[in-house]
């Protein structure tokens, strides 16, 4: 079964966007347009800090996902088997 990545520890994300830029580099571009990973900032429920939401495009599995996982300084991602729901 094909593999994909999931942000299983997104509470650890610090919003550095290294994963976004790595995925873009693998597509030979620098920028945010049509990125297969998107990071959204929002205030935490108690409004004391910032939280991050991550959206992964299912097409991410065409990339070198191990490289994307390893560039994250906070080990937010895990490689999992992709299902039809991913």
């Amino acid at each position: 079964m094909p593999k994909t990545i999931k942000p299983t520890q997104k509470d650890k994300c610090i919003g550095c966007e290294l994963c976004v830029f790595e995925s873009q580099r693998q597509l030979k571009k620098i920028g945010l347009e049509e990125s297969l990973i998107r990071i959204f900032r929002k205030k935490s429920a108690d409004k004391q800090t910032v939280e991050y939401d991550l959206e992964i495009d299912p097409r991410i599995n065409i990339l070198d996902i191990e490289k994307i996982v390893s560039i994250c300084p906070k080990e937010v991602f895990e490689i999992v088997e992709s299902s039809n729901n991913d």
Binding site: C16, E17, L18, I30, G31, E33, R41
Partner: protein
């Protein structure tokens, strides 16, 4: 496509609610960041400009993650540095600098998408502006200017000028891309710089991080003021000065992106800046 052959400056007149994007090839010698910001201050000094600017490496390399802010406070020139995602959004908007000139007669929220500007009245929800994931929101609640709901600048210079100009917030969305000719070499240099994170003068933390910086340090929240001219013109993080005052590294980065700066350009920069400051004074 981001154009690196000239400096693209978005000039916003908040009084007339007009804007235009201008391209200046003669400003390349000011490199970017503070160097470019000070020159633009000299050019627009009569119009009370607030200038945000980025350097040639912002958006492209790790730790080149700050934006420069140049303004005058009671006639004194101040240079501040703001972290978060603003540097990458300005760069991906295809801009080297953003000038907000004059004063609005009503509270205005400015929405920027690449080189286009939309003016919104007070009461507009800034969260509804721009493209999520590709934007930076700079919000002002009347007390503190916050970028990405977290990052600030030292002292209250930015807050004073936001108040003076009647600016309620700024949304910046960047959707342009860039692709260096020698992409494999670019990736190699990017990785080499990222591996040098132990050379930074901050410890890794779990705080919100600047875009393109893995450190999550606790120091970026409050921004920076003053510092090394080269680092501030590139606009790298002051804690990455060991990397970005290494001229060999800087030229590797500039060359692989396709910039044609020479060693003389870098050597001449402090003199140019000094002359510009004299002219402003």
């Amino acid at each position: 496509m981001i154009d690196i052959t000239a400096k693209k400056v978005l000039i916003i007149d908040v009084d007339k609610k007009e804007y235009n994007a201008k391209t200046f090839t003669d400003l390349n010698k000011f490199l970017g960041g503070t160097g470019l910001g000070l020159k633009l201050l000299e050019m627009f000094v009569d119009e009370n400009p607030l200038i945000f600017s980025v350097g040639p490496l912002n958006g492209f390399f790790p730790f080149a993650s700050k934006s420069s802010i140049v303004l005058t406070n009671d006639g004194v020139v101040e240079d501040l540095y703001l972290g978060g995602s603003i540097s990458t959004r300005l760069k991906f908007a295809g801009l080297d600098a953003l000038i907000i000139k004059k004063t609005s007669d009503n509270k205005t929220i400015i929405e920027i998408k690449n080189s286009e500007v939309y003016f919104h009245n007070e009461g507009t929800d800034i969260q509804s502006l721009g493209l999520t994931g590709k934007r930076c929101l700079i919000e002002f609640d009347g007390k503190k200017v916050l970028s990405d709901q977290y990052f600030t600048t030292p002292d209250d210079y930015l807050e004073k000028i936001f108040t003076e100009k009647n600016i309620g917030g700024i949304s910046i969305t960047g959707t342009e891309i860039f692709s260096p000719k020698n992409f494999d070499e670019y990736k190699k240099i990017y990785s080499e710089i990222l591996e040098r994170k132990d050379e930074l003068r901050v410890l890794e933390g779990n705080y919100p991080s600047c875009s393109n910086c893995p450190m999550g340090c606790g120091k970026s929240k409050v921004g920076e003021i003053g510092g090394n001219i080269l680092v501030n013109s590139l606009v790298a993080c002051q804690f990455a000065d060991k990397i970005y005052t290494d001229i060999g590294t800087v030229f590797s980065c500039l060359n692989v992106l396709g910039y044609d700066y020479t060693h003389e350009d870098i050597e001449n920069l402090p003199g140019l800046i000094e002359e510009t400051i004299k002219n402003i004074s």
